[in-house]
């Protein structure tokens, strides 16, 4: 009788082994060669401490909670190409005086052309409409849903807002509006301002000549064509 084995033990072992097959939502699943998926090369949003494959456990624990997304060294100026108009740090301080000074002095390095206005419109639709509304009346979804009140209309209260103040506000934020400098490059900021200038005039696109420059007025344009 001693040769007979009890079936309960292997069945219990089998059940225990199968319970390991329950899917864990926090695990991405099996991988071939995980060291290729989770490499030590600098990649965004990778927690290097997660991967003790080729570092020792000690090093892995030491690295835990370090991130590849770091603040640049203080005083760093990002290189965005040779165009100095979009590459130098913003000169005006984030003070009420800086705001006024920017409004008086700061001018756009961009000319008002069809291409610039359309590029600005694309940025506006993606970055601004949820608050300022599609026509810039301050009636975006966040306003309609009652989350943010009192967003001013470009064509009404902000009709005469100078470009420099817009740029200052985009860079530092003002009142409830936060800084958008991390989302919009300097060029993007000036592009979207080109479109906001159109919205200040009620949203009518100005007339363009063949090279995409704005025709001063319809009458002038007709005269130019006659000549």
């Amino acid at each position: 009788m001693s040769k007979r084995w009890n079936p309960i033990v292997p069945i219990a072992a089998f059940v225990v082994a199968m319970s390991g097959c329950v899917t864990d939502e926090n695990s991405p699943g099996l991988e071939y060669m995980p060291d290729m998926y989770r490499s030590p090369a600098v990649e965004a949003y990778v927690d290097y401490g997660m991967d003790p494959y080729y570092v020792t456990e000690e090093v892995a624990v030491g690295q835990r909670n370090t991130q590849s997304a770091r603040k640049p060294v203080a005083g760093t100026i990002p290189f965005v190409g040779a165009n100095k108009a979009f590459g130098l740090p913003y000169a005006y301080p984030n003070t009420p005086e800086g705001y006024e000074a920017a409004g008086m002095e700061l001018a756009s390095p961009l000319s008002t052309t069809k291409a610039h206005i359309e590029a600005g419109m694309e940025i506006y639709v993606q970055m601004c409409t949820q608050c300022h509304g599609e026509e810039g009346k301050g009636d975006g979804a966040l306003s309609r849903n009652g989350h943010i009140a009192g967003i001013p209309s470009y064509s009404d209260k902000l009709k005469d807002l100078p470009m420099g103040k817009m740029y200052h506000t985009l860079t530092y934020g003002k009142g409830l509006m936060g800084s958008h400098a991390s989302q919009l490059s300097q060029k993007d900021r000036w592009l979207v301002i080109e479109y906001i200038k159109v919205l200040q005039q009620g949203g009518e696109m100005p007339e363009f000549d063949e090279s995409g420059n704005v025709v001063e007025s319809a009458a002038d344009g007709a005269m130019a064509m006659n000549n």
Partner: protein
């Protein structure tokens, strides 16, 4: 205005000097009517929303400037000064009034100067009527906006439990077979005992199984063939599933709900994932991007202050005062201070490609003009981010025109090159393509190549080199 009233009153009451003086007094008392009384609440609300609401709340809470609850107690009888303060804050401060000086000292450094408001004294009276007795705020209804969140729908029992039942049945079958064989042996032994024969040798289960298999060779070999085939198929499927992440949905440190942000409040995908335009990564937004809205939106529709509070803790924002902390625990004046030592929110990466694959969002979003949904599915109907399965994305073809139907699992190489073979290039989208087209037209061999490429009347990504190994592996 006052002059006109004065003249009209003067005319009405006659032109004698005494009466003029008397009328002057009447007008004075009329215009000096307290701004805390007899205002029009409805007009005040409209004016407040147009001019004040972007910074002030009618409660004591801070938005981008101090809350206005109890304003009557603070300003008391200095009506004219309050009107002047609203119309021209810097001018009012120049009067040297003690209360205004205290306001300037306390708040201007933190919130900046209030901008001068183009409102009349009568407008201020209406506004104050509203501020003192604000009607109950309607909570914006978000239930009828046509937005759905599949994670919040009542859970359907779609879980496939057939494997579990199969295992349970198999175990039961084995138990029955073993006990039946035991009973069989016991009965045989009982019969043998009655008939005076010797007992069966106790062989154990394995030996008996071998004996049984030997006796039923055909059945056992058919069963064995079937089991091997089953194992091969299952094993192949299992190996093909290695490195496939469809449906991967890791837990996140903040219970972020995409449907609330994208569908209900119409925040564009690229507002937060803005680096999709100029980087290989679409990017997880840093906390300052959250703050662009959550400086004002302090309470979530699902989790109240709990989840939004995690953002505040990470960036060092005090929702009570509406200001950021610096490293010493003081209120910083403008934006997060460099010295702030906050714990970053550690989002879990969902989409991960191996190191030997180069993928760029910029190339696909800017140059290719793909919609996010083409690869990521209808994220606006989800809570947390996950990897959409290709079957799910295929169901969205009607909803998003231009979406390409594919068959291989998402984020696998098969999926990538299947799409590169199907997706056509819009030649008008870039001067580069036009240049290439012109050069090929002018060249004999190029012309032949062009003819071959255009046989199916479209130019696919593959035909532009999208199947070259070194495009993605280098």
């Amino acid at each position: 205005m006052r002059n006109k009233n004065f003249q009209r009153l003067g005319r009405l009451l006659g032109t004698t000097r005494i009466l003029t003086i008397a009328s002057l007094m009447v007008v004075q008392s009329l215009s000096a009517q307290s701004i805390w009384e007899d205002g029009d609440v409805d007009n005040g609300q409209a004016l407040f929303n147009a001019n004040c609401a972007s910074c002030h709340l009618v409660t004591a809470d801070v938005l981008a400037a101090p809350g206005l609850a109890g304003i009557a107690d603070r300003w008391g009888s200095s009506d004219e000064l309050l009107v002047q303060w609203i119309q021209n804050p810097q001018g009012a401060a120049a009067t040297g009034d003690g209360y205004i000086r205290s306001l300037v000292e306390r708040y201007v450094g933190t919130y900046g100067w209030m901008s001068a408001q183009a409102v009349s004294a009568d407008d201020v009276r209406d506004i104050m009527a509203y501020v003192q007795n604000p009607p109950d705020v309607d909570v914006a209804s978000t239930s009828d906006n046509g937005c759905i969140n599949i994670d919040e729908l009542p859970e359907e029992k779609t879980e496939d439990s057939s494997t579990l039942w199969f295992v349970i049945l198999l175990v039961m079958f084995l138990l029955i077979a073993m006990s039946a064989s035991g009973v069989n042996r016991g009965l045989t032994n009982a019969i043998r005992e009655r008939e005076g024969e010797s007992q069966l040798e106790d062989l154990g289960y394995l030996a008996r199984l071998r004996g049984w298999a030997w006796n039923n060779m055909v059945f056992v070999s058919v069963l064995g063939l079937f089991l091997v085939a089953f194992g091969v198929v299952k094993g192949y499927q299992g190996l093909m599933g290695v490195g496939v992440y469809e449906g991967y949905l890791p837990e996140q440190p903040v219970k972020f709900i995409h449907s609330v942000h994208v569908c209900e409040n119409e925040v564009d995908c690229k507002y937060c994932h803005h680096s999709a335009y100029e980087s290989k990564h679409a990017g997880i937004p840093s906390t300052n991007v959250c703050m662009n809205c959550h400086k004002a939106v302090k309470k979530g529709s699902r989790y109240g202050e709990v989840e939004i509070g995690k953002i505040y803790a990470a960036i060092g924002f005090d929702p009570e005062t509406g200001t950021y902390f610096d490293g010493e625990g003081n209120n910083g004046h403008y934006g997060p201070q460099d010295s702030f030592n906050g714990e970053p929110i550690k989002w879990n990466k969902v989409h991960n490609l191996p190191d030997h694959v180069y993928f760029s969002h910029q190339q696909h979003v800017v140059v290719g003009g793909l919609q996010c949904q083409n690869c990521h599915g209808d994220v606006e109907t989800w809570s947390a981010g996950r990897i959409a399965s290709v079957d799910h994305i295929n169901t969205l073809v009607d909803k998003y025109p231009g979406l390409i139907e594919l068959s291989k699992p998402t984020l696998t190489m098969g999926w990538c090159i299947e799409c590169h073979n199907k997706a056509s290039i819009d030649l008008a989208s870039s001067a580069y393509y036009e240049e290439m087209h012109d050069r090929m037209k002018d060249d004999v061999r190029g012309n032949e190549e062009l003819r071959r490429i255009l046989e199916d009347e479209k130019i696919t990504v593959k035909e532009m080199g999208g199947w070259e190994c070194s495009k993605c592996h280098y």
